[in-house]
């Protein structure tokens, strides 16, 4: 009596599981901490949306592994005069709807960014017009020379879209329709749950390694880490310190720590006493134990920042900064006329990390006789009130999204950028202004680097900020995931990722 029925059952199960194995390896599931807002690259410019968009849409140029500018949809470029850049475009690129990619699409995209206006339109403020020279050549004409233009063009918000798909989709562009040129094609978006993308089989470059990409939004950090642990997702972005601690050493998981383009800082209102005295600002820098902030608040997911720029930004100085020296701090305070310290306040919003920084800061400053009151201001008012200069000190962050020092310094330290644009310290220095203006237009990279080096030295010496940290990001993945390349700006491209 041959147990044929058992044999059949086993066979069916084997096939079923083999099927599961093969199909499973073709779907990559990634979890991030929030849902996208819109998939329109010219829409709301937030991290969760950008992380999905960079799989679907492409820019003229890209950032390479070392943040150098490499070809994207443009295969080569040349600056033909002070204000004109010529781009030669790739010639056999098709949009996901079959339309061919041409120079007209570049013109349409940049005009759309300016007309909407895209919330990131300011990135191409320097662009006067886009001229179609022939189907595969464009001229981007600037208002005045702007050295960082290539870095700005690499930003995901300046991606190229297809006119026909935008016009046909109307309101639905970005939610029901998202047609780009990238390695993944948009399939479906279940609002609040996940976005499903499939491999673009007609991709003009190196095709994606997985067939299906699912990007889920899981806001609770611990649950996101648990999904990684149980294999519910293959990659989980932004593992927070407590979960990093718990997951380190877990078999089957890889934790990839990488640098970002983000810094956190404490800004002084340099127009208010006593912060108008540089010695007071320097004293506070000396009084701060930044290593403790890194170790206890960020539990290692950060590095001390000696200066204003995150280390990966082009031209960032490897600056010593102010070492932890409370004695020196007290001496400087005395010299400035505050031997017994003074009372002041520090503002923070309800971000948990920032609140902890504020408390540590309070304790550190108490050691040198400065009595700091911590004021927690809701985010909705935080930006407005700090823009109005109502504060003494405040905690904030900055992301140098273009990896170029102009973006990392101009808005924060130029005297024309007081308030909302970014300079909430109300710092004004003629020489720094001069340097920042020069850096914007200088074409020669070596001269440019020297300009920004001098600007950074000034800024560190004048200390309009208490320099804190440059953040690091920890992304977790199952150990059968290969080829993950973290992008310091946080929008990691996933076409190189495969599952063993």
């Amino acid at each position: 009596m041959f147990k044929k029925s058992w044999f059949v059952v086993l066979l069916v199960l084997a096939v079923a599981f083999a099927g599961v194995g093969v199909v499973g390896a073709q779907t990559l599931t990634v979890a991030q901490g929030a849902d996208p807002v819109t998939l329109d690259p010219h829409g709301q410019n937030d991290q969760p949306s950008a992380r999905v968009r960079v799989q679907i849409f492409e820019t003229l140029v890209n950032h390479g592994p070392n943040l150098e500018i490499i070809p994207g949809l443009a295969k080569s470029w040349e600056q033909i005069d002070d204000v004109t850049w010529e781009f030669k475009l790739e010639e056999n690129v098709k949009f996901h709807n079959g339309d061919g990619f041409t120079a007209a699409d570049v013109k349409y995209s940049f005009e759309r960014i300016k007309e909407l206006p895209s919330p990131a339109a300011f990135l191409i403020d320097s662009v006067k017009e886009v001229v179609v020279v022939d189907p595969y050549t464009v001229h981007i004409v600037l208002n005045e020379p702007f050295a960082p233009i290539l870095a700005h063009l690499a930003h995901p918000s300046n991606a190229i879209v297809n006119r026909r798909s935008v016009e046909e989709a109307g309101d639905g562009f970005g939610s029901l329709v998202a047609v780009g040129t990238g390695p993944f094609v948009f399939e479906d978006w279940v609002s609040g749950s996940h976005v499903t993308l499939s491999r673009n089989e007609q991709y003009w470059g190196e095709p994606a390694k997985v067939e299906t990409l699912v990007i889920r939004g899981i806001p609770e950090n611990t649950v996101r880490a648990i999904e990684l642990e149980t294999g519910g997702v293959d990659i989980a972005y932004n593992i927070d310190p407590t979960d990093e601690f718990r997951l380190t050493g877990t078999p089957g998981l890889i934790l990839d720590k990488s640098q970002t383009l983000s810094t956190s800082y404490i800004g002084f209102n340099v127009q208010k006493e006593p912060f108008d005295d540089v010695r007071v600002r320097q004293a506070i820098n000396y009084a701060l134990d930044v290593e403790a902030v890194v170790d206890y608040i960020y539990t290692g997911q950060a590095a001390p920042a000696g200066g204003p720029l995150a280390p990966l930004v082009w031209g960032a100085l490897d600056v010593e900064g102010y070492e932890f020296n409370p004695e020196k701090a007290k001496a400087l305070l005395a010299e400035a006329g505050y031997p017994d310290g003074f009372k002041t306040t520090i503002w923070t919003n309800d971000n948990p990390l920032r609140m902890q920084i504020a408390e540590m800061f309070q304790a550190d400053l108490a050691e040198i006789g400065v009595d700091v009151e911590v004021l927690i201001v809701p985010w909705a008012t935080y930006l407005a009130d700090t823009a109005a200069g109502k504060h003494d000190m405040f905690i904030l962050g900055w992301v140098t999204v273009t990896a170029d020092p102009d973006y990392g310094l101009y808005a924060l330290f130029h005297s024309s950028q007081f308030g909302d644009p970014g300079n909430r310290s109300f710092y004004a220095n003629e020489r720094v202004d001069e340097l920042l203006d020069l850096g914007r237009v200088e074409a020669d990279p070596d001269k440019r680097a020297a300009i920004y080096a001098e600007a950074q030295e000034y800024i560190v010496a004048e200390a309009p900020w208490a320099f804190l940290i440059a953040t690091m990001e920890v992304n977790g993945m199952r150990d059968n995931v290969e080829g993950f390349m973290a992008h310091p700006a946080g929008h990691h491209k996933l076409s190189t990722v495969s599952k063993k």
Binding site: D171, G192, S193, E220, V223, E227, T230, P378, T381, P421
Partner: protein, 309 residues
């Protein structure tokens, strides 16, 4: 009965308008500028202005409200300031998930809470009763975020029986969120059913029924329960209405794509049209659920039927 229902529905209109005005004022009078919040720490002045203009925020607030009202009457609730999607689309995309969770949670609450309440009332101060009531107290006392994560650790990580989060198709995803959400409701309904039953069981007509020699079960289920259910049905309605407004904590922990999470984000972003539309939806849902409950009363208690003429 129909006249009553129609009267109730018509009276909703001034209520909804009043709520919309109230929400509008709250959103506009509290600090925070959606354009500024959108742009974040680096908001060049001209970009800020251009965004504000494109969002229609430069109009005086009463003009903005009237514009909104004019469109709302034609059932056009505008577009989300952030995603640019139609508000109606945003809401309808997320409503089924919330409805599913609310129905599941209320079902658990009713299927467990009512029988437990009845049994407790039939044997007051027995061991079962004491355990049940302590259990109920614990259920109400457990915070959702703690309970949710505990359930995930137990059933997803340790026993690997259920998925940890998401709504990706299949009843397995519904279990843990529904249990988390339903626990407090179960506890409340159990306690209320018990006390309502105890109340009713003391009534004269119940004593009469027992004196007539009817079996205890028949007394409880045929005579007492229907009357005890009136306050319970009210509570079930209130619970359901509340759950339909979205359980933000549960939705956040389980990454459940519901409406509560969406509303909280919209409020933080000062996304006026989305907040307005969502709260209108809640108000409508709540009012309709209450209407349903009132109609149900008529079936439960024939004496009330005449008041509905």
């Amino acid at each position: 009965m129909w006249r009553y229902i129609i009267r109730r529905l018509l009276s909703l209109i001034p209520v909804l308008i009043g709520i919309s005005l109230f929400v509008f004022l709250l959103m506009h009078l509290t600090p925070g500028d959606p354009a500024q919040l959108m742009l974040g720490e680096g908001a060049p002045a001209h970009q800020l202005e251009a965004l504000r203009e494109s969002m229609g925020l430069n109009e005086p607030w009463h003009i903005q409200y009237i514009n909104w009202l004019k469109n709302a009457i034609r059932l056009d609730f505008g577009h989300s300031l952030r995603s640019k999607k139609a508000v109606a689309t945003e809401i309808l995309d997320r409503l089924p998930a919330t409805a599913e969770l609310a129905i599941a949670a209320v079902s658990i609450a009713v299927l467990i809470g009512v029988p437990v309440g009845i049994l407790s009332a039939s044997k007051p101060n027995s061991t079962f009763d004491n355990i049940a009531m302590v259990g109920a107290l614990t259920g109400v006392g457990m915070p959702a975020f703690w309970q949710g994560i505990m359930l995930i650790l137990l059933f997803s990580v340790t026993f690997q029986l259920l998925p940890s989060s998401g709504r990706l198709g299949g009843w397995q995803y519904l279990v843990l969120p529904a249990v988390t959400l339903g626990t407090a409701a179960t506890a409340s309904i159990a306690r209320l059913t018990r006390s309502a039953m105890l109340d009713v069981l003391q009534q004269d007509y119940v004593r009469t029924a027992r004196a007539k020699g009817l079996r205890s079960r028949r007394v409880v289920y045929r005579h007492a329960l229907r009357n005890a259910l009136i306050p319970v049905v009210t509570m079930i309605g209130l619970q359901f209405g509340g759950l339909m407004s979205g359980a933000v904590l549960t939705e956040t922990i389980f990454a459940w794509p519901g409406i509560g999470r969406m509303l909280v984000e919209a409020i933080n972003n000062k996304d006026f049209p989305l907040v307005q539309g969502t709260i209108m939806t809640f108000a409508l849902t709540y009012a309709l659920v209450n209407l349903l409950v009132d109609v149900l009363y008529a079936f439960l208690d024939p004496r009330l039927r005449t008041t509905y003429e």
